[in-house]
Structures are given as C-alpha cells and as structure tokens.
C-alpha cells in the first residue's frame, strides 16, 4: 500500500515537472506572440467572429501569432492590472482607457496613428477619437460601441392597448405608458441598481434626457444634486421602483443580465439598453425575433444626448512588439470586421464609412441606433478615477436611494461632495 502511495506521489511530481518543462519549451520555439485581452472574448455571440479574425490575420502575417486571453468581464480589470503592475500585461488590450493611460499602463499611439495615410485616418470622426485620448495623446483606436435607446416589446405594447407607432416622447408620456404596461406579475421596465457601472450608464441617460448634467464641463465637480434638473430626473427614474410604481422589484440586484432576462421572459415590456441587448434577448427567447422596436430615449428637452460606449483597442506600455500589435489592431478595425460585429453581435461600428453598407441598411433597427448615435456622448467619461466613481460611488448612492427614497436629496448631495473630492485628487 505504501509503495502505491509513493508511486502516485512520484507520478504526480514527474507529471508536474514534465508539464512545466513542456509549456516552457513550447514558449521558446514560438515566433512573435501577441496576447489579446478584452472582456468581450467570452461573449458567445462574438466568439465565431474573433476566431475568424485571428485566423485570417495569422494567415496574412506569418511569424505573428495572436493568443486570446479569455477572462470573465468582472475579472477583466483585476487580471489586467495584476499583469500590468509586473510589466507583463498582454500586448493588445481593451480596458478603461483614461484610467489605464493615467496609470501609465498604455502606450501612446500617436506615432503609429500619424504614420497612417489620411485615407485610413478619415474613417474616424474627431469626436470619437477624443474619447480615446488622454492629455491630448491617442491611447486607443475606437473599434466598436453601443448607443443607448429605449427598446420595446411590440406584442406587450399592443396588448396594453397602446400604439407602437407613437411611443412616448417625454417623461410624462413614458409614465403614462408605464402605468398601462404594468400588471400583477409583469412591469413596464426595470430600474438598474446592481453593482456594476451599467447602473451609472442608464442613470446618466435619464439625467441628460431631463436637461441635467452630472458633472461640470471640465470634470472637476459632480452635480447630481446641485443641478436641480439632474436631481429631478434621478427622483423620477428611481421613483419608478417605489411600491406601486412601474418597475420590476429587486432593483438593487438588477443589472444588464437581470434586465435582459426579465425582458426576454416578457416580464417587462421596455428596457433602456444598447443594441447588443437585442442579440442577447433573441438568443434567450427566439420567439421575440422581429417583435421588438426601438426609439430614442424619452426626453424633456429637445435634442437631449444619449450615451454611447466606446471600446478602443490599446497597446500595453510593456508590450515588446508594438509594431506587430498595431498591425493587428488595424486589421481588427477593418471595415469587414466592423460590419460583421454589427450584424452578428449587434455592436455598433465606430467607423464613419459603413453607414451605407448594404448589410447595415438591411437592418432597420441597427440603422436607427446608428442614427441615434449622432446625438450621443461617449462613455466612459474622461477621468482617471472614472472606473471607481462609476462602479462604486454612484452605484452606492443609487442603492442607498432605492432603499431609502425619502433621503434621496441628502444621499446625492453627499455623493456630489465625495465624487468632487475624488475628481480633484489626482
């Protein structure tokens, strides 16, 4: 018996040693290996596209291999930072750009960008590029994004006796619709209050739709409570979750995932979301295909901006092969892949030269979101502490206000003070 155990021990040891040696040897023989880490690689609808992108890139560029780093969204930043701190970060990354650039984790792309011909550069509007800059330098190439709009379930709207041709245009009409769309075990919408920055994104769309501002122009002061229009919008929106309101219960644990689940299972009739949620919802419940329609956010002021997330590809400061990395970023930003991402994964293209592409035009809802994008502000907001402010501080205030609505004023006044301090502490 003891002989068997010793044998097993020896086997385990030699296995471990052999495995360690093997992986070491494989590494030494490789050509240039570029690691590529973005949170979206684990999204199922995107997987076939990125696999194809890598395969075609490697075929066109012998000697360069691209190694995807798969990581769950919630662990994406943790993993990146641990590696960046040891100067071992993957070469190509999509991360919170301002925060990463401020912390010295990213390489300025000005050199590469300026060396490109004007024909290449003209595919990106200056506004969109601004979202990828920190202190005047370009740190990422915008690849895709998402514009937030209001998405409705047509069947539920009709069933409630409402006319899909005339969706609500302002808060009052939205509330009127909301009342009719709410019943015993189904609701008009869901208020987002879970612990990710999606909560913040949707809150901002409501503030902007009421003509409010959450920050002053140079991001040195928070004005959630200071700006009366902001506070009024916050109260209206969070008020939907009060008892007898129009929102599904459990807002403090509701995020994108819970919201889309509710929508796919027809528990809610409308959701404030980006176009990619449609791919997710239809994936969950194929019966909803073709039964959805979208409008711009109901707003109390004309031309209210909505929110558009911008995801850019960057090169890590510690990357050993920046030229090769730029090659891949350019390849991935190509028209062809932008269109595929838009059609298959419902991610909005960032290039200005594909609105007329037949694939885009063939999808009316996609075209509609592209149009809404004209009035969008880019997100994340440009501040090094934004990631923490968006995912911690603002969410905390939203949760507190949802749990104790009577103290909303005070809670957001405290938020203003806390965030203003953070904005200036860099």
């Amino acid at each position: 018996m003891n002989v068997r155990i010793a044998g097993a021990t020896r086997l385990a040891l030699s296995l471990a040693v052999a495995a360690a040696l093997c992986s070491g040897a494989a590494r030494a023989a490789d050509p240039i290996v570029l690691q590529w880490q973005t949170a979206n690689l684990t999204e199922s609808q995107y997987e076939p596209i990125w696999k194809k992108t890598i395969a075609e890139f490697e075929a066109a560029n012998p000697g360069i291999k691209v190694e995807p780093v798969l990581v769950a969204r919630k662990d994406h930043w943790t993993k990146f930072v641990a590696a960046a701190q040891a100067k071992q970060a993957p070469c190509i990354v999509s991360v919170d750009l301002t925060t990463a650039a401020y912390n010295g984790y990213l390489l300025s792309l000005d050199k590469f960008w300026n060396a490109e011909p004007a024909s290449f550069r003209s595919a990106w509007n200056p506004d969109i590029l601004t979202a990828a800059k920190w202190k005047g330098q370009l740190y990422g190439l915008p690849i895709w994004g998402g514009t937030y709009g209001e998405i409705y379930n047509r069947d539920l709207v009709v069933k409630a006796g409402l006319d899909p041709a005339h969706p609500p245009k302002n808060f009052d009409e939205y509330i009127a619709w909301g009342r009719k769309l709410t019943g015993d075990d189904h609701w008009a919408m869901a208020v987002l209050g879970g612990k990710t920055d999606t909560t913040t994104r949707v809150l901002l769309t409501w503030i902007w739709a009421n003509g409010g501002e959450a920050f002053n122009a140079d991001m040195t002061e928070a004005t959630f409570a200071k700006n009366p229009k902001s506070l009024a919008a916050i109260k209206t929106y969070l008020g939907f979750a009060r008892k007898g309101g129009i929102a599904a219960p459990a807002p403090t644990t509701t995020n994108y995932l819970e919201q889309t689940n509710l929508f796919a299972q027809q528990k809610i009739a409308t959701m404030r979301n980006a176009y990619w949620s449609v791919a997710k919802v239809v994936g969950d419940n194929p019966a909803l295909k073709g039964k959805l329609f979208a409008t711009s956010n109901p707003a109390n002021v004309p031309d209210a901006p909505t929110l558009a997330t911008v995801t850019a590809s960057s090169i890590s400061a510690s990357c050993k092969y920046p030229e090769a990395a730029w090659k891949f970023i350019k390849f991935d930003a190509d028209r062809k892949w932008s269109i595929e991402r838009a059609v298959v994964a419902n991610w909005m293209p960032m290039r200005n030269d594909i609105a007329d592409a037949p694939e885009i035009k063939a999808d009316p809802m996609l075209a509609q979101f592209v149009a809404m994008g004209a009035h969008a502000r880019s997100y994340p907001l440009p501040h090094p502490a934004w990631a923490e402010i968006a995912a911690n501080d603002i969410v905390d205030a939203v949760q507190k206000a949802l749990l104790d609505p009577d103290k909303t004023d005070q809670i957001f006044r405290e938020l203003d003070a806390k965030v203003t301090k953070k904005l200036n502490d860099i």
């Binding site: 930043w77 943790t78 930072v81 960046a84 701190q85 100067k87 925060t99 990463a100 401020y102 912390n103 010295g104 984790y105 209050g193 879970g194 612990k195 599904a248 219960p249 459990a250 807002p251 403090t252 644990t253 819970e258 689940n261 509710l262 299972q265 528990k267 400061a317 502490a385 990631a387 923490e388 995912a391 911690n392 969410v395 905390d396 949760q399 507190k400 949802l402 749990l403 860099i426």
Partner: protein, 297 residues
C-alpha cells in the same frame, strides 16, 4: 564529548524543518514584505512615491474602513458561531444514529467539497428574485407574499451571505467534532449511565470536557479563515447593497482593483492582518490559561 552528538541531533532536526521554513519564507514572506512596503507608498499605476504612514492615516480616517471592520466582526462572529454550533450538533446527531452513518457523513460533507466561488454562483441562481427556486418554495409555503430580493436589501443580503458561508463551513467543523467524539472514552459514558445521567448531563459532564480543547482549536482556525474570506461575498454581492456586506477583505479588493489605490489597499490588508494577529494572540492566551487551569484541577 557529550555535546557533539546533541549538536548533530539539533542540526539534523533543522535539516528536516528547513525546507518548509525556506519555502514559506520565499513564497509568503517575500511577497508580504513587498506588500508592507507598498502600504507606505502612494501608488498611481506604475508611478509611486514614498509617503510614510499617510495611507494608514487616510484609511483610519475614512469611515468606510470602520464600517468594514464592523461588518467583518458581525460576519465572522455570526458565521463562526453557527459553524461551531451546527457542526457540533450534527456530529452529535451522527454519533447517535445507528444506521447509514457513513453515507450520512459523506452527504453532510459535500458542501465543503465545492469551491466557494462555484458554490456561491449556484446560490446566486437559487436566490434569483424572479426565477429562483428559493422564492418559489418560500411563496408556496406561505412564508413570503411576493418574490423577495434576498441580495437586494441590506439585512437579508447580509443574512444570505452568512447562510451560504454556514452551508459551506459547517461540514469541516463537523468533521473535526466527529473525530473528537471518537476519542471520548466509552467508560465515561457507561459510568454516567450508571449514575442515571440524562442526555444533557451526559453531554455536559462527559462529552463537553473531552471536546473543549478541540472546540477551541476549531474556533481559532475558523475565525482565521472566516475573517479573511473573500470568495462568497465577492461573487454574491461584491459588498453591496449600499455597502451592507462590505467586509474588510471585500473593501481591500474593491480599493485595490476597483479604486486602483494600491497603497491604501495594502494598508487595509496590513491592518486586517494586525487585527487577526491580535485576535489569535488574545485567544491563545485565554485558552492557555483555561487549559492550565484545567490541568491543575
């Protein structure tokens, strides 16, 4: 002449112990030193500057730290208490049953074999407000009127993470207690039975004195493990709602990886370590006195 062999003896002893000591020094103490150093720096990404104890001052002046400390104390106290009480109760129950003992023991051990992160994910699904089975069962049994957002309100969120930690933590204590029960001399029970002792008296005067030392050990280990625990709360609430479950390890994680303030995070970590250390020293003191008194009796 007599000294040489004794010295050689010593040396041999050191040679046997050295691998573990060197190993732990390299793998634990080197990173710890680096972490303590970090707690004295203002870190902004790859730039850092020495600021002395400024991070400690910042952390100690911030109410979130004290809030986290209070949450940690509440979480650890309730979890450990329930682990030990239920673990002991289950062990006593199993010892009483005559049949299917092994099968039951294995069944009760299962939660301990699941990774905390995976177990927490399963519970997340069970507690889902709209589609979760817990709400369905509670509603069917008439315990709640409408679906409850277990993780959405401060009190029930805290109770939920404690409950999941208890679900996972009881088996290990049960295992230790079962082992302890086997060491209780059978004659003592027989003597107690002859004296006409009832079940409570048998426990009070035979089982408990024999188990007390083990309970002390189990509690110490459990306090150390629970106060540092991150996985279950990290997965289930991330510290929310409204910071109701933001225990110190979660605050540490959020400060480091959400806030990118590594200096302050390291300071929180060092303070947490100091607290655990103090707890353990005090605990060992108390129990040693207790034990010495017991020996003297």
């Amino acid at each position: 002449m007599d000294l040489a062999p004794r010295q050689r003896q010593r040396l041999t002893g050191y040679l046997f112990v050295a691998p573990v000591a060197l190993f732990l020094a390299a793998v634990v103490i080197v990173p710890l030193g680096s972490a303590v150093w970090t707690s004295l720096l203002r870190v902004r990404g790859l730039r850092s500057s020495f600021v002395g104890v400024a991070n400690y001052a910042t952390v100690l002046a911030d109410e979130t730290f004290w809030h986290g400390l209070a949450r940690s104390a509440a979480f650890t106290a309730s979890s450990v208490l329930l682990h030990v009480a239920l673990g002991l109760a289950l062990a006593l129950l199993l010892a009483e049953l005559r049949t299917a003992r092994t099968a039951l023991r294995i069944a009760f051990l299962t939660p301990w074999m699941v990774a905390p992160a995976v177990g927490a994910t399963v519970w997340l699904w069970l507690l889902e407000p709209q589609f979760g089975v817990v709400n369905y069962l509670a509603q069917s049994a008439g315990l709640i009127g409408s679906p409850k957002a277990w993780l959405g309100e401060p009190l029930s969120a805290f109770a939920s993470v404690v409950a999941v930690d208890v679900w996972r933590g009881v088996p290990f204590v049960m295992l230790l207690m079962l082992a302890g029960l086997q060491t209780v001399p059978q004659e003592q029970y027989e003597a107690a039975a002859l004296d006409g002792a009832n079940a409570w008296q048998r426990f009070r005067y035979v089982t408990w004195p024999n188990l007390r030392y083990l309970v002390v050990v189990a509690t110490t280990l459990d306090v150390i493990n629970t106060v540092r625990h991150y996985d279950i709360i990290g997965v289930m609430t991330g510290g929310g709602p409204a910071s109701a479950t933001e225990v110190l390890p979660v605050l540490l994680y959020n400060t480091a990886f959400r806030g990118n303030r590594f200096g302050e995070a390291a300071a929180i970590g060092v303070l947490l370590l100091a607290i655990v250390l103090a707890l353990v020293v005090v605990y060992i003191r108390i129990t040693r006195i207790d034990r010495d008194a017991g020996d003297a009796r």
